[in-house]
Subunit: 504 residues, 2 copies
């Protein structure tokens, strides 16, 4: 069949349209082009586009205006990048042969178990860009709602690891940590890197920027140092200092995850299977051997019950073992923000206070960082069980962690001090009573409306904790913004939501 | 919140780009426009676009070329149509408030039951165009794999009926039929319409065009008469003749179905729940009261086992009852094509032979049509049980069905005789033996490669049936095409597939 199909292909001249479609491969063709006319474009929703050395699958959009002239063809930027087209190139379009791995997606929709081979074919095709958003969403949905058992999650994770680059640090032990999101201000990562690197472990930490939160670790660290480094630069920093805190966006580790996570965000779901596969595939591909996972549990955290957390812990550890990672899961308190600052610069200030052993350093943030660093130190086998936190504490109090932190920042190109935003407003208690609840989601939203993370110094500085006895008029938190307008948006949200902080 | 969000909106001038995106609402904006810059377009995957009287939700594609100039905005054709924009209009874009019904989609992903209210909100938002393809695919997938119970299917069906126009024919009994696809040549619908309308029942039949098959009923009837009629024209035809055979594409009955069915086709799945909701919502919205559903069962038909067919029959009848339809399901033989012709004109020829009682009329097609027309006549209560087929036969043999058929064609604007395609090739048996199997899917594919349905007179004329004793060299079927090229494509497929017809 392939021969006859190829005979039916058409040749068109590439025109740059510069259309960003959020990753989907789209091909633009005129309605009067040969292929559209001869096949009827309704039937041609997905086609193959080739140039002299490679080919991609793309969704067809048909153009009826003069955006394209006779004989021209356009591509979305994602498709152009994948096909590596340059200007004035000639492209060939042809029928799409069936994508075999979609039969596994259908099998999963019909509740069948998939094996490694099936996941491997699916993930390979996803990385190739052969799946449309419709196919990706069906795969995500069919795997959600506890429809993957732990063997399937292991196989999915292995397939995702195999789909991209895999780093090798030539070290016996390479440690990493990950927090299952949802807790504002909980910026332990830079502290943990500084502690364990100062202790002598290797921790080449890559982090993400915020997508829906007021700050990601990369946003916070960018206040203090450069985080966009090349692979070679990262290697040099890690070899010199034993650790780094860089943005992981360019690393091409587990590239399927980057595609799937966008679909999960669009659906606003976090399926257990995808979550585990996402986290552990990234860690394994990054060359980690020992990983501590922090799962904060709370009604407004991502994981809402101890039961869910225990199940996730159990599955994380089984899958970790299956993919050759030494995984320790720590379930922590997720009922309120950690630290005082929420927003890049405000969180950076917290981090420096802890590292410098300042008297007003947020104790909760320090304790959380010591717990996680301690677990990593224990996991590495360098101290006996139960001595990890203590060891981590010595590294902080001795000033070695701060020293290491500054050294890594300098190795990454600069160390800059965080500054506060010029516009602020103090939010005070409207009545006296006990502080009963802090809504993590709403306080994060408030910080975002004030401008974080785009405005680095915007956000919230918290003055209170759960169970504090509050006097009417007492300062609860300060809102910071870089413009009066942003401060007003945040204030308006505060005024229409009386359950951000509940005092009873 | 809504107020502050609206303040953040931007005004841009509409430019016609003429981009057909297969129904999805897409908005095109320059990367340097105010909203993209101030919010970061990664976060803005879905936005609200408004003109002076209405608004839509659309997926954002960002343009970096001069396809759009400063201050301009573009829309996909589906979005432009929904927003009813004319040239040079000013559009406003703003943040998208959360789409509440997506929480029900998520609930379904997590295996919860949905009620009527939930389905109604989902379907209403789908018809509004508020769901992206990602959301639609998640909804379809979450409902597939037997994840809808019969109450949910009933509620989904009711919601789909309520989402569009509902016709009312002012008749106590309005009959209809539907065949659960997959059987080439099985063109009983025009025969059933002619018989029951001649008998005195009302059957305002709307049909679809082929999407993946070599002919839909609308394609076949278009050979003989006009099928694209306005609502007023359809009403006039039905009032005069008691029946019609028109294309249903413009009727806006159960519009959610038109959206969902495209996603199901892209995924190549047919979930039971969506199938039942699709068929019965269309029938109910079209004003039918009594419906016969034909389910052909065979290894290469859509429904592959008697067990699946029985379950589908059971659920169809329960849901029919729940939505106020009198539904009778008939399970028929789906092991081979019905009639001799496969392709619009060839099927039209079969239909005329049956209506004219010609000696070489295909008996299987006639018997299938008599069975279905008979069931409808019995269902209407006008004859006693067991007398339907006999009654239908009298209508055919008396010539009244043919007379009615011609009358309806003329009421629809013309009656044209079908013609055969100029290029043909005879496919003969390569050995003697018994005809064991006909692969419905492969023979349909062969007919499509010959040019059907775009080439009306292309297709296949079958000369044999299952279990026939075949002599080597005997004519099995004739391939017809409108060009030598298309004939060659079909021939090439035939040559590389020796299991289209199996003789042993």
């Amino acid at each position: 069949m392939k021969n006859s199909m190829e005979e039916k292909s058409s040749t068109l001249k590439y025109k740059h349209l510069g259309i960003y479609t959020q990753n989907e491969h789209v091909v633009y063709m005129r309605e009067d082009c040969h292929v559209c006319v001869s096949e009827g474009f309704e039937a041609l929703t997905r086609i193959r586009v080739s140039n002299f050395n490679t080919s991609i699958v793309a969704s067809l959009n048909v153009i009826t205006s003069d955006v394209l002239l006779d004989g021209e063809i356009g591509l979305s930027e994602a498709a152009a990048k994948k096909l590596k087209v340059s200007g004035n190139e000639t492209l060939r379009v042809s029928h799409l042969e069936p994508i075999d791995s979609l039969s596994y997606v259908r099998a999963k929709i019909y509740n069948q178990k998939l094996d490694y081979m099936a996941f491997d074919e699916i993930i390979t095709d996803i990385v190739e860009g052969d799946y449309s958003n419709i196919h990706l969403s069906a795969f995500i949905t069919a795997c959600a709602g506890n429809r993957l058992d732990v063997n399937e999650i292991s196989d999915l994770t292995k397939a995702m690891i195999a789909s991209g680059k895999q780093l090798n640090w030539n070290k016996e032990i390479v440690v990493d940590k990950h927090c299952i999101g949802g807790l504002p201000g909980n910026r332990t990562t830079p502290l943990v890197v500084a502690i364990v690197a100062a202790y002598g472990l290797t921790m080449p930490k890559t982090s993400s920027r915020a997508i829906t939160s007021p700050a990601g670790t990369a946003d916070t660290m960018e206040v203090l140092t450069n985080v966009t480094l090349s692979s070679e630069e990262i290697t040099a920093v890690v070899e010199k200092e034993g650790g780094c805190f860089v943005w992981g966006g360019t690393a091409q580790l587990s590239p399927a995850d980057d595609v799937l996570i966008k679909i999960e965000k669009a659906l606003d779901i976090d399926s257990e299977g995808q979550l585990i596969a996402s986290v552990l595939s990234k860690k394994s591909a990054a060359g980690s051997t020992h990983v501590v996972i922090d799962i904060p549990v709370g009604k407004t955290a991502k994981v809402r019950s101890e039961e869910m957390a225990q199940k996730l812990k159990n599955h994380m550890e089984i899958v970790g073992n299956a993919v050759g990672l030494n995984v320790k899961v720590v379930i922590t308190d997720g009922t309120q923000p950690v630290g005082r600052g929420i927003g890049p610069a405000l969180e950076a200030i917290d981090i420096l206070k802890v590292l410098k052993n300042e008297t007003d350093a947020p104790i909760d943030l320090m304790e959380r960082a010591l717990l996680l660093a301690g677990e990593l130190i224990e996991l590495s086998g360098k101290v006996e069980k139960g001595k990890g936190t203590e060891t981590a504490k010595e590294v902080i109090t001795s000033g070695k962690a701060y020293e290491k932190f500054l050294a890594i920042c300098k190795a990454q190109g600069r160390f800059s001090k965080p500054v506060l935003a010029p516009y602020k407003i103090e939010i005070r208690a409207e009545k006296s009573g006990s502080l009963k609840r802090i809504d993590n989601r709403k306080i994060a939203k408030l910080a975002k409306l004030s401008g974080a993370p785009q405005s680095k110094s915007a956000g919230i500085l918290l003055n209170v904790h759960l169970n504090d006895e509050i006097e009417k008029g007492q300062l609860l938190y300060t809102l910071f913004a870089e413009s009066q307008g942003e401060l007003n948006y945040a204030l308006e949200y505060y005024e229409s939501h009386n359950d951000i902080i509940t005092i009873e």
